[in-house]
Subunit: 194 residues, 2 copies
DNA sequence: TGTCTAGTAGACAAACCTGTCTGCTCTTAA
DNA sequence: TTAAGAGCAGACAGGTTTGTCTACTAGACA
C-alpha cells in the first residue's frame, strides 16, 4: 500500500480549518445562531469544499460534538492522581479550570442538547455517547474507591457535575473551587474509608 | 375613573392567545427554532396585532420566560408542608412531577439560557431574576430548618436542582424520585437535627 | 349617526438560511 | 507532459426570517 501525500495530515487542512472555526463559533454563539456562510468565510474555505466534507450542517454539528468530546477526554487523560478519589476530585476541578477561561460559556454538550429537542437526532445521540462515557468513567473510579453503591453514587456525581457546570456559567459564584470541593466531599463522604 | 369594557379581561384575549401559543412552541421546540409566522398562525392572530403587543420577538421571549416563572411560582405556592424541610423536599419533588408529564423537555430556563450567549441580554436577565428568586426561597427555608451555613447549602441545593433537571431530561434515570430523595437527603443530612 | 378602538388579512421589503452547480487555479504523481 | 484531485470564488435557487404597512371589518360608546 503506497502512501498518498494527501494522507500525511490524515485530515485535510481545509477540513480541520472548518471544524476548528465551527467549534469556536458554535460554542461561543450557539448552533442555530451560526450559519454556514459565516463558517466558510471565517475558515477561508470555498462552499464546495465545505459540502464535500460535511454533506449537511447537522453532520458538522455532530463532528463538533465529537470534537468537544475528544478534547474533554484528552483533558481527563492528562490527570495523574494517586488515588481514585483524587482522580474524581481532579475531574471536578476541571470545571473550575474551564470556568476561569476567558470565553467560557458553560458546557458545550448541555448547550447543544438544549437546541435539539428530538432525542433520537444524531446530534443528541453523540451527546448521549459522551455522557455515557463520563458516567462509566466515574462509576469505575467509585468502584476503585470502594463505594458501596457505585451506581447510585455515579448518578449523584453526574447530577453534581451538571449542576456545577450550570452554576459556573449562569451564577458565577464567588468561590467556585470551594463550592465544587464541598459538593463533591458531601457526596463521597468527608473523611470516608480510604 | 370610568371602567373601560376592554379592561374587563385585563389582558386582551389576542395577547393571551399569542403568549400561550408561544409558551407551548418555545418550550417544545426551542426559541430560535420557532418563527413569528408560525406563532401568529397557530394563535389565529393578525401580524399587526402581534407587533402591537410585542414590538419585537425578543420581548415575546422575555414574556415567555416571565410566564414560565409565574407558573413555576404558582406550583411552589400550592405546596403546604409541615416543616421547612418538608417544603424543600416537596419543591424537589416537583421535578419528578414535571418529568412525568407527556411533553417534558427539561427546564425552560436552562434551555432558553443556552440560546442566549449574551449575559446582559434582557432574556438572560429575566432568567437570572427567576434563579435568584428560587435561591432566596431555598435559603429562607434552610434558615428555618436551622442550617448552620445557609448560604453554601443554598448554593449546593441549586446545583442539585439544576443537575436533577438535566438528568430528568437527558438521562431519564429509572427511579428518578429515589435519585432526587437520595441527593437532597445527602445534602441536608439524613436524620439531622430537628 | 359618527367616531374610536381592536382586530383581521395579507402584501411587501430586506436580509438570511441551506444546498447545488459551474468554472477556475494549483499541486502532485505517473 | 499530462491527468487527476484538492481547493477557491461566487452565482443561483428556493425557502424562511423579522418587521412594516395598507386596507378592511366589527363592536362600543357618545
Amino acid at each position: 500500500m503506497v502512501d498518498h501525500a494527501t494522507d500525511i495530515g490524515r485530515a485535510s487542512a481545509a477540513r480541520s480549518r472548518i471544524l476548528d472555526t465551527a467549534t469556536n463559533l458554535f460554542y461561543a454563539e450557539g448552533v442555530h445562531a451560526v450559519g454556514i456562510d459565516r463558517i466558510i468565510a471565517e475558515a477561508g474555505v470555498a462552499k464546495a469544499t465545505f459540502y464535500k466534507y460535511f454533506p449537511a450542517k447537522d453532520e458538522l454539528v455532530r463532528a463538533y460534538i465529537q470534537n468537544q468530546s475528544r478534547q474533554g477526554r484528552a483533558m481527563i487523560d492528562k490527570i495523574s492522581a494517586r488515588s481514585a478519589r483524587d482522580s474524581i476530585l481532579a475531574i471536578f476541578d476541571l470545571v473550575a479550570d474551564a470556568a476561569a477561561q476567558p470565553g467560557y460559556r458553560g458546557c458545550p454538550f448541555l448547550n447543544a442538547a438544549a437546541e435539539y429537542p428530538d432525542q433520537s437526532h444524531p446530534v443528541r445521540q453523540a451527546i448521549d455517547e459522551h455522557r455515557q462515557w463520563k458516567r462509566d468513567l466515574l462509576r469505575g473510579l467509585l468502584v476503585a474507591d470502594g463505594s458501596s453503591d457505585s451506581e447510585t453514587t455515579a448518578d449523584i456525581l453526574t447530577v453534581a457535575s451538571d449542576g456545577l457546570l450550570i452554576a459556573s456559567h449562569l451564577d458565577r459564584p464567588a468561590n467556585l473551587r470551594r463550592l465544587i470541593l464541598e459538593t463533591v466531599l458531601q457526596i463521597l463522604g468527608p473523611l470516608a474509608d480510604k
